[in-house]
Symmetry: C3
Subunit: 421 residues, 3 copies
């Protein structure tokens, strides 16, 4: 695998991302080095986007709690999850009792530091493990949050690889979480690897590919507010990439009507994989919430490895969860879909009635006898028999219960032999 | 509960109803006192309605069998089920053997008096328990049936609560059974309670509500023969109310194509209730047979508590079966559907992309952390995400597997906040 | 049963059929004696039909292997399966080792002679049981194949029984297998019996019936190449008859979209039969491969008793497998479909609302009491309730889960009573 996704994720792990601010800019710059096609769209703080307002930028120099004995706790510099996202600046001494109101823990996971934010409600707080909270000594505490909340820009990155066709295959991931590996970095690094793949493998790509990186929710809402018309016109299949770095299972979230090309495509690519799970749209979680919202209605599914996992939104979501092998599994699943689009997603027979495979050496035997054919010949003949130019290649996979990768192999052979177009 | 449905049913229980006659008139007069909107449509005996003819009126003064010893059996005055419906007048003495041919029993329920009729085939007979039949002493019997079959009218009552919209929500029940509680009186009393509810709760109702009471089969056929065009034009959702007074289960009969607004509505109201059962149209039994017949094709489902129960069509169908609690359960199920129509059955988002719930205090938490939201917030967000103005509120319930009552609660909140219209 | 299908099959069993040649001509002549309507369409060797070329004729006078000791093996005159189909002429002496390369056996069925062909790849070979192969003595062998491959014609037989309507019910079977009973002769003999039935029972048939006999694959491709337009215009329901002579199960292969009148019809006729199995189009095997191919798209299902059976394509496929009883079961299943078409496949009510069955003596009881009606009355009432002129009789069967034969009985009664048209 030539795309070192795990390395990229590790490089980006320490950065403190949020909705808007220097951490996000730094992250986007890193990806720009990988893919120069990224363009930045800036949304000014305070700008109205649909029902929302673009928030101010948030930046943090330092944050901690210090006991009167001098001992420090919840040090932001040790782990940026210790600070509640968008905490306002604070510098004061308070009692242990008052401090307790500002400490967040995950009671059902007593060893984990939870990830907590308060984006739109001005507040502050610290996150530590429940175990640590219980051991906080009595006495007074100095609270230091050296943060800034100030006017600036929310940034969205978009890259377009133009193809012969205007129709777009769309990928979206998000860059708004601090140091967590699966629920954040796995998505953007996969997205960048896929973009490199399209350029490497298909220098004359048929379809147009669009890749966006944005803060979740407010980012996609801002992006949609600017580009809704063009997205609705061109996007025929899209995926939100989220939690795609572990090795546990494979899953996706259906669109509300469960009948788009994206639903067909991802099902065909995943259905035979280990621990595969198909979620209803009511189990949505990421930016498919916006892309599929009534009035937006894009054909976008959300792709994950394991969508529900115990480390989610805690400091345990690290590189024990995300591996290069896990990322590569996700890469393969998405790559097969890209390959199918470039081969042509609506295969059509060039002959009326079955073609004569024998004269093209496409039979796996020269004589006809029961039980002597190989499985691949049945896949080949089935692909031909269902390729009416109307069913998508994905739908054919789903009808035949043959995974996309296998069908692509036969499609290539039949295209070379001019039996499919 | 302010509608004393059980009391009404008990008041009406002793009356001997049939297809047409004084018992039916008396019953309709009782309901007219509850709801003055009822208008009576009369169909003269002998009038042709589609393939049928309106029958004569039937009235009974007395009927019994008297053994030569003087002992009386099958006394109509003790239980009107003892006399076969539409029995012709008889006054004669016959042998025990000949009498046996005219005695009907329910062999599989030896203690029950069965309900037997012979509407269109001039005949007579008595119904007693199989146990009693076996004990009838030898000797001769005097048979007395002091009945009349004479020209008159079949009466149908219709009440219309006009709304801003011409589109109608339709309720139908029947008044042709003698003293039985669930399979007869539960339906009409529920229908009257629903009419009172519409007037009490929605003095400015949006939809038009239509309520009809008629003898089963011939009554609905006569009614349809007169009003088919207007029903086909206006009715968008209707229910036959039958056997709705027990506490056992909840059920409904689908329309033939299983895809009307009525099917969606009743499913959403019932699916999560105890012992819920959905029947195919091939299990139809009451006037949905006519309302859904080819050529009529109204969107009408049949609503029952337990549709199949051992007491059915015997004297055991009494107030051991029907209770106020049972009637109220049925009332609630239908009331939720009325509430949904009045709220607006096709909810539509007012925003593109998710609205910001936080600024409206519609989040159940001010900070964002996993595991802290209440179930109602998911219902709220799901309702928003599926409200595209095309899916009915009922369909959304069925997709989300959230019962109608719960969705209505959230719909009210979101409408007040102008997030749905 | 007046059609001696088993006798016909036994008469035809010894003939050595293949794609084209004297065996095929002889077979078609036999059927012409049964049904004079057959017309022969000839396709010259070398003619291009879609992606294929019409093959030369093949004829065999004799073929065998003779050991140096004088002992003969694989004698064509004893069983024509011994010779690989379309073997070229050979006359030479070879070593046992070289001979082994030309001997085909079925290793998983060591007592069976397999059926092997090499139609389009010039070759030769012999088929014997694996047991016999192992016992072939060492030494040299004389190989004699006195065959001819020469220009001629491939013949297709078509018979049309014109009806009042141009719409066609289509039956196809194949005549290209040597001495095997189920996978070959059962189909053509059933097809001929059905043709006789149509003429005997419906001298004034409504629908047009078309029957074709042709060599599998190349025959149907040639036939389609000539008649595609007229087939697409007229055929509304068709069946390939293959392996229809055993007594084991009943099955059919769906069309690719599983929604044609043929799918509905055969399902309604078969679903309640013992060991019934419904196959997806991906399990297709016979000429439905061509009739349903993209670009041809005819509503044609494939009908079989047991589609998968151990004797298939070996000498064990004989009259231990095929019986008159087995053939008659298949005849009944197809006959019911013909009867349904002639009765009218889209039954329509003549009345609005339920008709009064009582006055026509169509109730199974004169009084009304629970539990006293016979099952047939429910079938009758259900048929009426679903007969809207749009649902096919077959679809009604499938909705009601009532087998076609039973519905036909009620349909006849209701038609006589002018309640259905």
């Amino acid at each position: 695998m030539k795309y070192p996704m795990l390395k990229w994720a590790k490089d980006l792990f320490p950065i403190c991302r949020s909705l808007a601010g220097p951490g996000n800019r730094k992250t986007l710059k890193y990806f720009f080095k990988l893919n120069k096609e990224f363009k930045i769209f800036k949304f000014k703080s305070g700008t109205k986007v649909f029902d929302w307002k673009i928030p101010d930028e948030w930046s943090v120099k330092d944050a901690f709690i210090q006991h009167s004995s001098g001992k420090k706790f919840a040090e932001f510099k040790k782990n940026n999850l210790h600070l509640v996202g968008y905490s306002i600046p604070v510098k004061k001494t308070i009692s242990r009792k008052d401090l307790m109101q500002k400490i967040y823990t995950q009671k059902d996971q007593p060893n984990a530091i939870p990830y907590v934010t308060s984006y739109y409600n001005k507040s502050w707080g610290f996150c530590i493990s429940d175990k640590e909270k219980k051991k906080l000594p009595s006495g007074s505490y100095k609270v230091v949050i050296d943060s800034k909340i100030e006017k600036g820009n929310l940034e969205v990155a978009e890259a377009v690889i133009k193809g012969k066709l205007k129709k777009e295959i769309f990928f979206s991931s998000y860059i708004c979480h601090p140091s967590m590996a699966n629920n954040e970095l796995s998505g953007p690094v996969l997205l960048n690897a896929l973009m490199l793949y399209v350029k490497d493998k298909y220098p004359k790509n048929n379809y147009t590919y669009k890749f966006v990186l944005l803060p979740e929710t407010i980012g996609s809402i801002a992006y949609i507010s600017k580009f809704r018309k063009i997205l609705k016109k061109n996007v025929i299949c899209g995926f939100v990439l989220t939690c795609v770095g572990d090795e546990r299972g494979y899953s996706f979230v259906n669109t509300p009507n469960e009948n788009t090309l994206a639903d067909e495509a991802i099902l065909s690519s995943l259905f035979n994989k280990k621990n595969f799970k198909r979620y209803s749209f009511k189990d949505r979680g990421s930016d498919e919430r916006q892309y599929c919202y009534p009035g937006v209605d894009l054909p976008v599914c959300s792709f994950s490895r394991s969508k529900e996992y115990p480390e989610y939104h805690t400091d345990k979501d690290n590189f024990n969860v995300v591996t290069q092998k896990g990322l590569e599994g996700s890469f393969e699943a998405m790559k097969d879909i890209i390959d199918a689009f470039e081969l042509g997603p609506y295969p059509q027979n060039t002959k009326i009635c079955e073609p004569q495979l024998g004269k093209r050496n496409l039979y796996t035997s020269h004589i006809s006898q029961k039980g002597i054919y190989k499985e691949e010949m049945y896949t080949r003949k089935n692909l031909l028999a269902y390729s009416d130019g109307k069913r998508s290649l994905f739908k054919i996979c789903n009808l035949l219960k043959i995974p996309l990768k296998k069908i692509i192999g036969q499609y290539n052979i039949l295209k070379k032999n001019k039996l499919l177009k």
